[in-house]
């Protein structure tokens, strides 16, 4: 089962984390999205109980918080794996064979897009254009960009993360 280290935090610690972030943004209008960005950055994702704390702290309804989270694809309500693989499916990558790279990843990792491998190591995602079209097709692993891919590169990249946490 895949877990998030922050789930082990004590309740008071979680309260403190949310409280501090909300306090930093409350003075400005339209604070909810920046708050969600920061909480997700520190906590990893936005589970139910965290959403509740944000709503309480910002004095808005939980449905408003959830409404915004569910609208934007960047916000996650489930924990991600240790390594997040994002395959760019922008037009340039698509016409240059990103689909085949994605298929190969699905097959090797035995997951669908949006899922995490059973060992909690890899989460597979597609994204909409990273703007590295010159390097198409492209994928990122925890933000590190791998470009000019062929399907043969997939195994090499995955192996490197399995062994020693990625190619430097």
């Amino acid at each position: 089962m895949n877990t998030n280290v922050n789930d082990q935090m004590k309740n008071e610690e979680k309260n403190k984390l949310v409280k501090e972030i909300v306090a930093r943004h409350m003075h400005s209008k339209g604070a909810l999205i920046p708050v969600l960005h920061e909480v997700q950055e520190s906590y990893g994702y936005l589970p139910d109980e965290i959403q509740e704390k944000i709503a309480k702290e910002m004095n808005i309804s939980k449905s408003e918080v959830f409404g915004v989270i569910s609208f934007y694809s960047h916000f996650a309500t489930k924990p991600a794996g240790k390594y997040k693989i994002s395959v760019c499916m922008g037009t340039a990558c698509y016409v240059k064979g990103a689909g085949a790279v994605l298929d190969k990843l699905k097959e090797t990792l035995r997951v669908k897009v949006g899922q995490t491998t059973e060992d909690g190591e890899f989460t597979l995602e597609e994204c909409r254009c990273l703007g590295c079209c010159g390097l198409a097709p492209v994928l990122t692993v925890n933000g590190k960009v791998y470009g000019r891919l062929t399907i043969d590169d997939v195994d090499t990249i995955l192996e490197s993360y399995k062994k020693d946490g990625g190619i430097a």
Binding site: Y72, C132, C133
Partner: protein, 595 residues
């Protein structure tokens, strides 16, 4: 300190991904080792545009262009060129299909047909140093508007230049400013739309990464004209480097008194904030973008009222795209007449495009309006790689369309591009060759808009889903004759009954491919064939007489569908074949036919 030579290392996202920072660090070390660090300065610049060739180093003032550099190349390069004065040929650019290297940047076809206004500082300055920008006339336009011009003069200048919105809409910028300036209500806001969502387009990211101050200065001038004190840059969260550079630039501008209270002692107050998006394509639409800044779900609202009257926090708001803002300082400084002298009757100035897909010279280009598509694709882009035939170019992303090769003489201006059924859009230009299936491309874009529809309008939400299902069916070989008619009917309904640009333009990729490539749809439906040999379900793999019986394909086939002994022609069992193409890829004897 005076340096005899500057090494401009491209540090745009694409080059950084290929290891540009490492190359830069090694260059600095190596130059120091050779004792040249008092003569040669290494500078990290924004995107140079020629992204396919990264990492890139340009030697100034000699103008020598080095490309595809690896860390191992660095010691040799420094020793040969900078110590011994012998430029290294093998690290220079060779045009596709040719043998002789081109040493200087200005001789390379990719660069010499371009005309730079929005990208005027690309590769020439360090984007993280405000002094570099100031050294290239930066903030002089701001000084001019604060000392010599009143708001009406500024609006008039922008109107006279003929500048139209570069985000894709093409609305005259000066007119937009005038409406907002004359609206009642206070405070007023200005926004920079940097939510560049079109897949296959990265002009705005590149401008911010290479020259963030040009956008800030443009916004300052706009704010002065309209009477705004607050500005917001709404930028995609997927662009971390651009966000960082913009933050640095805003910080430096504040330090220099170019943002904040009483700017340049002229009693003008203006400050800027950055708001990050969170991954929703529809937020590029201006009313949705403002909802998102307000911290809400990014759903579009009906217009009127237009943002110029009631926008952000229900106050008069002016929104322009990154490239539009970057043009402003140039126009103010060089004059509207000079800008208007470039381009066509109704489309003035230049346009930045990201030239990507099946093209030799992938990268970012800025061209004068009025240039033809062919000139961009062949003279600048170097044509289609691997001897394949140019088939179509997709312009305008999911709202745009595919322009076929026959219309290659179409000139770049808002009206000519619209006449083809595509749109100018924000500047994505994806080139496709004979192996790209046009039904599949239409399906790709529909998949995109369907997923990104916010769901507010029924036809956009459900209509795009139904269209996608039909396209999927056609690609799977299950299309029926009525499908084309159904697609056209749904397309018309979605266009008519959607509130915002996303829905109104979502059917465009299908309509343009139907207009120019109807025969491909028909081949899928009637003959159950994919002419581009791209739709897997419609392909069959067969072994021809070229087979020498080497058994390589037998071993590579994942489903054991190929049988055969050594030196005997092999056979593919069509029942077992999953059409993965592994046999085709591995065969050295062209013995696999794909039909």
């Amino acid at each position: 300190m005076e340096f005899r030579t500057h090494l401009m290392v491209c540090a745009g996202t694409a080059c950084v991904s290929c290891g540009a920072f490492n190359v830069k660090k090694l260059l600095e070390e190596e130059i120091k080792k050779k004792g040249l660090d008092k003569e040669i300065l290494v500078v990290g610049t924004g995107c140079q545009g020629f992204c396919a060739q990264g990492p890139i180093v340009v030697v100034r003032p000699d103008d020598i262009f080095y490309q595809l550099l690896s860390p191992e190349d660095v010691p040799h390069l420094v020793e040969e060129h900078f110590l011994k004065g012998r430029p290294v040929k093998k690290m220079m650019y060779t045009p596709p299909g040719e043998k002789i290297q081109i040493p200087t940047m200005s001789e390379i076809g990719f660069f010499n047909k371009q005309r730079l206004i929005a990208l005027r500082n690309k590769g020439l300055i360090d984007a993280e140093q405000i002094d570099d920008y100031i050294g290239r006339d930066g903030y002089n336009a701001l000084i001019k508007v604060l000392t010599e011009m009143n708001p009406d003069d500024i609006v008039k200048e922008v109107k006279d230049s003929g500048l139209r919105g570069r985000g894709g809409g093409g609305f005259p910028t000066g007119l937009k400013w005038e409406i907002c300036k004359n609206s009642k209500g206070s405070p007023k806001y200005i926004i920079c739309n940097a939510d560049e969502g079109d897949p296959g387009a990265y002009m705005d990211r590149s401008i911010i990464e290479s020259d963030p101050h040009s956008v800030i200065e443009g916004m300052l001038i706009g704010a002065r004209a309209i009477g705004a004190q607050e500005g917001v840059v709404y930028i995609r969260t997927e662009y971390p480097l651009a966000i960082k550079r913009l933050e640095t630039a805003i910080g430096q501008a504040r330090e220099y008194g170019l943002l904040g209270k009483d700017i340049l002692g002229k009693g003008f107050d203006f400050d800027l904030k950055i708001k990050q998006g969170a991954g929703a394509f529809v937020c590029g639409e201006e009313t949705a973008l403002m909802a998102s800044i307000e911290g809400k779900r990014g759903m579009p609202n009906k217009r009127p009222p237009f943002p110029a009257e009631s926008g952000l926090w229900n106050k008069p708001t002016n929104i322009n795209n990154v490239e539009t803002w970057a043009n402003i300082p140039w126009i103010i400084l060089k004059g509207a007449d000079r800008f208007a002298s470039i381009g066509t009757e109704k489309s003035k100035g230049t346009k930045v495009f990201s030239l990507v897909g099946k093209i030799n010279n992938t990268g970012l280009v800025e061209v004068p309006m009025g240039i033809t598509l062919k000139e961009i694709i062949f003279d600048i882009g170097g044509g289609v790689p691997n001897g394949k035939k140019f088939k179509a170019v997709q312009m305008g992303g999911p709202s745009g369309g595919c322009i076929p090769a026959e219309l290659g003489d179409t000139i770049i201006d808002y009206d000519s591009v619209t006449a083809t059924g595509a749109i100018m859009g924000s500047g994505g230009m994806v080139v496709m060759d004979e192996t790209t299936c046009m039904v599949d491309i239409a399906k790709y874009f529909l998949n995109f808009t369907q997923a990104e529809s916010c769901g507010k309008c029924t036809f956009c939400r459900i209509g795009t889903k139904r269209m996608l299902e039909i396209l999927q069916r056609i690609c799977d070989g299950n299309g029926v004759e009525e499908d084309i008619g159904k697609l056209q009917e749904l397309a018309a309904q979605i266009k008519d009954s959607s509130l915002c640009g996303l829905g109104q333009t979502a059917p465009n990729p299908v309509l343009t491919t139907l207009k120019y490539f109807r025969h491909e749809y028909e081949a899928h439906i009637k003959d159950k064939k994919c002419p581009a040999k791209s739709c897997k379900a419609l392909l069959t793999y067969e072994i021809n007489d070229q087979c020498i019986g080497c058994t390589v394909c037998v071993r590579v086939c994942p489903t054991k569908a190929i049988t055969g002994e050594r030196k005997v022609k092999h056979l593919i069992d069509q029942e077992k074949c999953i059409k993965c193409g592994a046999c085709f890829d591995i065969c050295k004897f062209k013995a696999i036919d794909v039909n």
